[in-house]
Subunit: 376 residues, 2 copies
């Protein structure tokens, strides 16, 4: 029997936005929710106990990074990722595919900048039907990542939700190649699912819908993957070169996903995107945006973004956000944080990250309240 | 009336070691005690509320750094350093002299390496009877630091204990110049004391005993400074090129200091030095050694130093020190800390610093117990 279960609590009367609960072996994820990124098994500048304390209900860890350091065998010996990092709440891991391929192709942004001429850094040695052979960026070791090895790695890590091995096609891809990539990804995802089902280990597995910027292919991907017994569906790959294109693609795709299963939007979570994707019915989405902003001194508040390094904060003896009751706002002023950033003190990054993460947790609770009240 | 008072609790029957209590406006400092260094108004990688929580009773902040960033006027506007950084427990500030001169001469170690040929980096423009003119390393501004401006800055900062303006003579100094430097330092300290006494602000002021590696001059300095109404005495300047020479000089000097006043050893606190200096009757000593070691992955334990980056910790699922009950040891394993250091995660530095600081607090409590039991 599986602990995993999605409970739909309320469907907004104003939009596709919905409130739900994902039940996992490590507790509940209230949806819609923001998923913090802790690539190496740690949100940057915060320890996992603190992250639990702030109330981040789902943490995203990267299999690729954990395979290379400390190695999934070490995590397995520790009794899984929760034990290894001492996190009590749910964790999701990806397949490693995204990182391997993004090393080769760069991000959409990189690609747009280089006009598709980026040839990669030679870390990816070969992609075949079997999988992808790449070199470790840490020590040059050759590693073969396949649907089966990715799932085996994710079994070692033992996250509550895992992701099948997929190919991230470059944004600039010839349409024929995109079809081939999609079909291979579908075969890889099916193999991943089969490997998972041999040993479910109380984990849930989400598919990853692909198809790039082509609606027909996105539709085909939804149809193919929703017929397989995945526990939920993630949306991956490029959906366009800007937010407008992404939103348009999501408008097209969301009705193609089953309402009784949770969905996840991969790698999107900048502040401006949140409301539109929530209104389209996205349940969870992960992004390193809030924590990265924090380390750059960009602090989120109910009255907009505060650039803490700005001179106006030099002698401002008030918290970052007077309405906020996070550890940082309860204990420290803008003036002190401004000073810590100017002095490049490490505690600046920690205090800023605590604030932004707390902000995200509160923001999502507020979105859930609005949906329950049919305000969204 | 002054809050400041030194209470001698017990004099060991085995050595000069003693247990006491320094009463300050921000509470008690149990002695002997380690003083953590928070140069910019923050111990590296920790926020001040956490430092209070760990129980570090005295924190050393550097006037020089705080003058340049954020400026003592900002700290004054905040209502002093305690308010600015939100620290409830005692703080000591230095005069700024040490940093200005060490920028010019480097440390004893630097000097020994360069065989006294080091000519400085031209940040010190002129030293006169009035004081020292130097350039800010941040923006090149010319700043005149004198006994009066140093004390004024320390009044703005409002620490519980302040330090008079002194000259740090280079280790390689011609004996005649050392005498001149010492006498000028004495005049500067007297001017500092006078400036302080015009507006004591409930602060205590310690003298700084100088005289370099010359016992006669050290004796002269003790005699001159202990006759002035300082609240305590700090020991500064180079006392030799290694620990043995330092200990020998302290053996000579300690009987020359009054027993009814607290003393402080400036800038010494590596683990091996602690027991000998405590046995010589040192009450407090500051050092960035434990926090710097932490950031380099060197963790203190009751069984010796642990190099957390060493491969032997890779899959060791035990705390750094099984006897330790710090936040880090209660929550995380060596394997996880090893991983965080290998992955260069910022939380590695925070967790390691919490541990080493907690270790120092416990270590000093244990020294006090031993002295009370005449074991030391």
């Amino acid at each position: 029997m599986s602990y995993f279960r999605f409970e739909l609590i309320h469907q907004s009367k104003k939009s596709r936005a919905r409130v739900g609960r994902i039940h996992t072996p490590h507790g509940i994820i209230d949806t819609p929710n923001f998923v913090g990124v802790g690539t190496n098994g740690a949100l940057k500048a915060l320890d996992p106990v603190l992250v639990d304390h702030i109330g981040l209900q789902l943490m995203f860890c990267n299999t690729y990074h954990l395979m290379l350091q400390p190695g999934t065998n070490v995590v397995k010996q520790a009794g899984g990722l929760h034990n290894f990092i001492n996190r009590k709440m749910p964790i999701i891991t990806d397949s490693g595919g995204f990182q391997v391929f993004s090393l080769a192709y760069g991000t959409v942004k990189d690609e747009l900048k280089s006009r598709g001429q980026k040839t990669g850094n030679n870390l990816v040695l070969k992609t075949t039907e079997e999988g992808v052979l790449f070199r470790s960026y840490r020590d040059g070791t050759k590693i073969l990542l396949t649907p089966e090895t990715s799932i085996a790695a994710q079994k070692d890590l033992g996250a509550d939700i895992i992701i099948p091995f997929d190919e991230l096609p470059p944004y600039h891809i010839d349409p024929k190649k995109l079809i081939n990539s999609l079909h291979r990804t579908h075969r890889w995802e099916k193999r991943s699912l089969e490997a998972h089902l041999k040993n479910p280990q109380n984990q849930a597995i989400y598919s990853v819908i692909h198809g790039g910027i082509n609606k027909e292919l996105r539709k085909e991907s939804c149809e193919f993957l929703t017929k397989l017994p995945f526990d939920g569906h993630a949306i991956g790959g490029s959906m366009g070169k800007n937010r407008t294109e992404m939103i348009e693609m999501l408008q097209f795709m969301m009705p193609l996903l089953p309402e009784d299963k949770p969905n996840h939007l991969l790698g999107i979570g900048d502040l401006e995107s949140i409301q539109p994707i929530v209104e389209l019915g996205i349940d969870t989405f992960d992004s390193s945006h809030p924590t990265r902003c924090a380390r750059h001194g960009l602090l989120f508040t109910t009255c907009g973004m505060v650039k803490i390094g700005h001179a106006s904060n030099r002698a401002l003896f008030k918290p970052v956000d007077e309405k906020c009751n996070c550890y940082t706002c309860k204990n420290f002023t803008r003036a002190y944080l401004h000073h810590l950033f100017k002095a490049a003190e490490l505690s600046a990054y920690t205090l800023a990250t605590i604030h932004n993460l707390h902000f995200m947790v509160q923001l999502m609770a507020e979105y859930r309240r609005k949906i329950l009240d049919n305000e969204l």
